[in-house]
Structure formats: C-alpha cells, structure tokens
C-alpha cells in the first residue's frame, strides 16, 4: 500500500496536463522553436501563428474577443497586473479606494496590500458564513473614491461561486472598475464575457489541465479599460505586458481551454456525481461540517472540517490521498486557513479541514477508497481525542473554562 502513488484529489492546487495538451505542446518545444516576435523568418511566423490561434481558443471559452486577451505567466501575474495596473491608471480620475473580499486568493489580497503601502485605502469585505458576498453589504462598501473592486468567481478553498453578474452591475452603476479572478472557474463554470459586466478577468492554465507558467488577463475593449503595464520591454502584448512569449505554453493553454469548452458540460456532470458520492460517504462520519455553500458551488470541490480531530495528525493519517488542508499556496504554514476563519469557523474547525478537489482523471474507485480511508482514520483519531470523550459525555466544550498552564 505504501508503495503506490497516493490518489490525487488536489485538482484545485494544480491539475495534471491533459496528455492531449502535452501532445500539441511538444512540437513547439522541438521543431517549431522560433521566437514569436521574430518577424524576419518563418520560424517566428509559425510561432506567432500558433500563439494567435491559442489566444483565440482562450477567448472562445470565455466569450471574449481575442484582442481582449493578454498573455501572462499565470494568474498571480494576471491579478497583479489587473489590480495594480488599473488602480494606478485610474487613481487620479476615480480615486484611491479598493474593495475586495477577505477570502480572495493571496495574489489579490497581497497586491491590494501593496497598493495600500503606496497610499491607497482598502476594504476587505467579510463574506457570509456560507462564503458568499452579501450584495447589500457590497454596495454599502462602495465609496465616492472607490476605483476598483476585485471579487473571485470561484473560491479556491471552498469552491463557492459568487454572483458576478449582480456584483458587476453594482460596480457598473457606481462607475467602479471590476476585476474578477477566474483562475478556479474556467472549465467549471460557464463564463460569457460578452454579457458579464466585468472589466478585467484573470485566468490560469494549470488549473484547467494546461501547463504551469502561463495565464491570461482579459481586458475589456468596449467600454475600453486601460491598465498601466507592470513590466516594460519589447512592447509585446500591445505594450501591456512585455516579455518573449513561451510559444509551447500558449499553445498548451489554448488547447486546454479548447478541450474545456468542448467537454465541460459532460465532465462537470460526471464530477458532480463523484463529489456527491464522496459527500454522502463522508457524512456518515459524526461531527463533520461542510465549509461553504453547497448549492452555489463548483461540483469539483468538497471542503470538510472533521470536529475533534487534531489537524496535523489528520494530514499525517491520510497519506494515501493527496489533498490540501487549506490553499496550496499557504499550506506550508500551520496557520489555520484565513478563508475558513473569514467564514467564522473556529481555529479548531479550520485546522481540521480538508479540501478534496476532484477532476478529470478521478474515478469512482478513487472516491470509494477515499471514503473508506477517511472513515477508518477519523475513527482512530477521535478515539485518541479527549475532547471527543467530553463531547460524548454531553459536555458543551465551548463553555468549558480551561485552567491556565
């Protein structure tokens, strides 16, 4: 048992590259190795054509015009470019206040924090206990000098889907630039930018079966949104983002997004069945809490807290599956997830949470194995827990006054 690879249930951290995607990438690593900016020979033209085809595929998945797609090195760069780029461009005309949500990805939160150091002010709106943004509270957070709002479409830890249309309409009415981090949404949620009131949207390839190291930023053309470039150089991407494009990676993202467009409807149904099976199986365990709204949620995600189980021993116990105990980007620290804390979960419940994220290559057998593993491990762990014993004895632990030591 210890020799086999763990079952991968961490698709929200990164997905494997679909073999079909890898296959179309490799020729651009080997024979078609031109620099897409080289204009004097066919090596460059071939590369440029491939990059533009891929741009079209990215645009198609999200209902955008290819001219609205700017390549970046990933969603982190897209988020930084959108937030710093738009805030800096519009600060003098619109103001220097930014609204974001406390449960955003670090790339958004930390980009906003950097702007605060530069003299901007920010509101980090707390979501409701189910992870969703209250529209009235959002509207109330808008100030006369609010320049930009940034709200993620799908949360990376709990998978809840925000009402982007409603939030976007509020922003439109108030003249606030609206950025959406959709890194976790592509291939899972239908995105139609032609009809969504969104000005800027971040994408990543490696969460949607494409390669790491490539992402994109959607920048609306009508009405035209302007951003200040964060990287200067050869003037690639119409001056918004300089740097030689990695042809094979653009091609990989294009193919990954093409496959997502063709297959997402059927795939999401299959994944939903697997997730529901997992949920039903795990709900057989006493004292489990699902984190985040179950209805407004992508089918791929299940985030569950196991009460009375100590977080670290939980992770050690479930080595047969590769899961995350919080966002991949913060899991190196032992701090409880800031996302779960923002939902009002206690430190204990936040610590004992596991994010199961299901994807294209997950099987029914994987799910059944996971249910059995969790059941047997949790049973052993709670037997070790003195808190569990107290709970079973009918003691309300929240009312216990612990002696200082």
């Amino acid at each position: 048992m210890s020799d086999r690879q763990p079952i991968y249930l961490d698709y929200s951290a990164t997905t494997p590259v679909d073999p079909r995607v890898a296959e179309v990438m490799i020729p651009y690593l080997c024979e078609h190795y031109g620099n897409p900016a080289s204009r004097s020979h066919p090596y460059g033209w071939t590369a440029e054509k491939a990059v533009e085809n891929a741009r079209e595929e990215v645009a198609k998945l999200v209902g955008a015009d290819p001219r609205e797609i700017v390549w970046t090195s990933g969603a982190t760069e897209s988020n930084n470019l959108a937030i710093k780029g738009a805030a800096n461009f519009y600060a003098s005309t619109k103001g220097k206040h930014i609204i974001t949500i406390a449960t955003e990805h670090k790339a958004v939160i930390d980009a906003v924090r950097e702007l605060e150091r530069q003299g901007f002010t920010a509101t980090y709106l707390e979501p409701e206990p189910n992870g969703l943004v209250d529209l009235a509270k959002f509207k109330a957070a808008i100030q006369p000098d609010t320049v930009l709002a940034s709200v993620m479409m799908v949360n990376n830890e709990i998978g809840v889907i925000q009402d982007i249309t409603a939030i976007g309409n509020i922003c439109r009415e108030a003249g606030v630039i609206f950025h959406v981090d959709a890194a976790q949404a592509t291939g899972k949620v239908v995105i139609d930018l032609e009809n969504l009131p969104v000005d800027l949207m971040s994408f990543s390839a490696h969460k949607t079966y494409g390669p790491k190291g490539i992402g994109a930023l959607y920048v609306r053309r009508k009405p035209r949104i302007r951003i200040e470039a964060q990287m200067h150089g050869g003037g690639h991407e119409r001056g918004m983002r300089s740097g030689t494009l990695a042809t094979h990676q653009c091609v990989g993202m294009g193919e990954a997004f093409r496959l997502a467009r063709l297959e997402m409807a059927a795939e999401n149904e299959r994944i939903r069945m697997l997730r529901d099976r997992l949920l039903a199986g795990l709900q057989g365990i006493e004292e489990t809490y699902v984190n985040g709204d179950l209805e407004h949620r992508i089918p791929h995600n299940l985030n569950i807290s196991f009460n009375y189980v100590e977080g670290e021993s939980l992770i050690m116990a479930v080595k047969g599956i590769a899961v995350s105990s919080g966002s991949a980007c913060t899991s190196a620290s032992l701090e409880p997830s800031y996302v779960l804390r923002a939902l009002g979960r206690s430190d204990e419940l936040a610590h004992s949470s596991i994010r199961f994220s299901i994807g294209r290559f997950t099987t029914k057998e994987d799910v059944d194995y996971t249910i059995d593993l969790m059941k047997s491990k949790i049973e052993k762990l709670i037997e070790l827990s003195p808190l569990w014993e107290m709970f079973k004895d009918g003691i309300d632990i929240s009312k216990v006054e612990w002696a200082a030591h």
Binding site: A37, S40, A107, P211, G213, M231, H236, S242, H248
Partner: protein, 380 residues
Amino acid sequence: MSAYLDHNSTTALKTEVLEAMLPFMVHQHGNATSQHSFGRTARAAVEHAREQVAAAVGAYANQIVFTASGTEANNFAMRGICSHLEPAQILTSSIEHPCVSRPALAMQTCGYKAHNIKVDSNCDINMTHLQKLLAAPTNLVSVMLANNETGVIQDITEIAEMARAHKAFMHTDAVQALGKIPVDFFALNVHAMTISSHKIGGPLGAGALVLDKRIDIQPLLYGGGQERGLRSGTENVAAIVGFGAACELAVSNLTAFDVHAENLRQHLEIGLGKLNAVIFGHHGLRIPNTSFFAFKNLDGETLVTALDKAGFAVASGSACSSDSGEPSHVLLAMGVDEDLAKGAVRVSFGMTNTLDQVQHFLKALEHEVARLRNLTAMAA
C-alpha cells in the same frame, strides 16, 4: 540548403533538456508548494534545478530567484532595487535591451531620473562618460554583459567597481552571455544579474535573477509567497527543470561552443570582408557566435527577406524591435549612419550550424547583394 542563423533570438531546445522536462510535463504534475508527495517531488525538482543554475554562474542556490523570463527578471531588478531607495538617477547604457531601458524610463513617473551611458563606435561603454554621470547621486547602474545585436562584451567588473565607489547598485543583463562565455557572478562583482533559459537551449518561460543576498529587493509580483516571498506564483516546474538542465549542459559545452562558433564566424567574416560589408563592433571582445553587419546603400529589410526566401533565417536587428522598421538603437548609439544602420543584418550561430551552411549562406548573400545592387543601380 536552409539554416537557422538566429540563435540570439531563441535557440532550439536541446534533446537532453526535453528529456529532463518530459516527466514534469505530464506525470509529475504536483504544485511545488503542496505538502503531499506530488508536491514534494515537484519541490525537489525545482531545488535541483536551482543548484544547477547557481553552479552555472558560480553562485549559491539561495541567490537564485526564478522568474518567467529575462524581461521579468530585468524589470524585477530595476524596480525592486530602486523602490527601497530615495529616488535619484538610474543609469543604463544606450545599448541595453528595451526591458532594461524602458523600466528605467517608466520609473521617471515615480521621481527617478533615467540617463543613458554613451558607448563608443565599437559598442564599448564610454568610461569617461560613466564617470561623469556618476558624479550625481545614483541608485542603480545597469549595463549588459554581452550585447544581443553586436555581441560586444562589456567590462562589467570595472563598471561595477565604479558604481560601487559611488554607492550605486550594479545590475547586469547576462542573458546573451550565458552559455557563450564564462559568467561568474562573484567575479563580475554585481548586486544582481539576469539570465534566461531559452537563449541557452532551455525552454521559453523561465528566467532568473541572481542576487547578492545582502541587498533589499521588493517583489514585482505579490501572492502565495513563492521564491522566499520575492516572486509569487505557482512554480513552472517543467520550465525550471529544463532551465536547470540547459545550464548544466551550457557550462559543460562552453569550450566546444566557443571553438565551434568562433570558427564559423571567422569563415563568415572573411567572406563578408570580400563583399565589402561593414562589421559592427568587431574591434573588441565579442561573444563568439554573433556577427552584425551591413552593406552600404543596400536595404537590410529587403536583404533579410531575400535571404529568408533562400532558406536562411537571420535577424534585421533584435527580434523585439524587428517589426518597428526603426534602425537599431544600438547602431545609432555607436554613431553608425542611419542609412547604413537600416541595412543591418545579424547572424548568430548555434552548435547545430555547420561550415557548409556558412559557405552556402555566403554564396546566397553574394548573389542577393549583387542582385540588389543591380536593382538599385537601375533605379538610379
């Protein structure tokens, strides 16, 4: 006969590099920040690559910050170092790649002053001018180790000494030097140095900034806190692994590359001499693979197009500016006449080029030059 003679723009991935990358393109797909075994495998691969990259430039692994490109590393160095300092002047040479000169210009809105250091007619930094500029308070001096167009190598150690004597930080863009000449971070005596993967047979999509650990630098990208908080964003594991493998190969092949490329260039330039070409920057030290030349009264764009039809991929300046139709800023900085500069052609060799290709190229060149001269004569 056809040949790719544009290796300074980008060069083909080496087979060994592809082999190193392949497992990380599909099966070893973990996020290097994840704690499970998929993540740990990815992390180990990234750290191994970091050792390989560090070894190639004589640095320690913890001095390497991976980026997505040379452009990003240059922007990171320029902005990151200066943002901690009281705005003064930033000095860049007049032959820098735009991803060094443009960030300096963009930073003028934040109160910094950008100034160009002049070069002489051979593309060498004018040290007297640098000395004069350094009299004013200076945040940063950035001079490239080898120029992408002429291939001319600067005396970075000397320039760094001058910068340091005036309490300025020193950055060098070594993107075109790595893999072509020995590059030693400590010998160069700089605070920061940019390198890139795809110029040395690694994949596009990876670069690095080599840093003196004692300096404060502010990140360009904020987020998950990867690269010790200096560069957030999920690590591009496959590209980083490829970069590492390419670095190791580049260093072990350095002597062979030098001998091979220098030999090809000698043959090329003897031929160019016979055709009365003007070769730019050839009086001094150059990386061995690069030759930048022009013919008087001959349009370079037309020549490059004709050469392409004959099967030879060359550049008419740097790839990034080759669509602008403007004469090379490097040649203008060297004081080359604008008309002559407009006709410039760059040949840059790689290990896969052969003497036979050079001879065929020269023949095609001779033919095209004669044809175009005839046309020009007829038009006149």
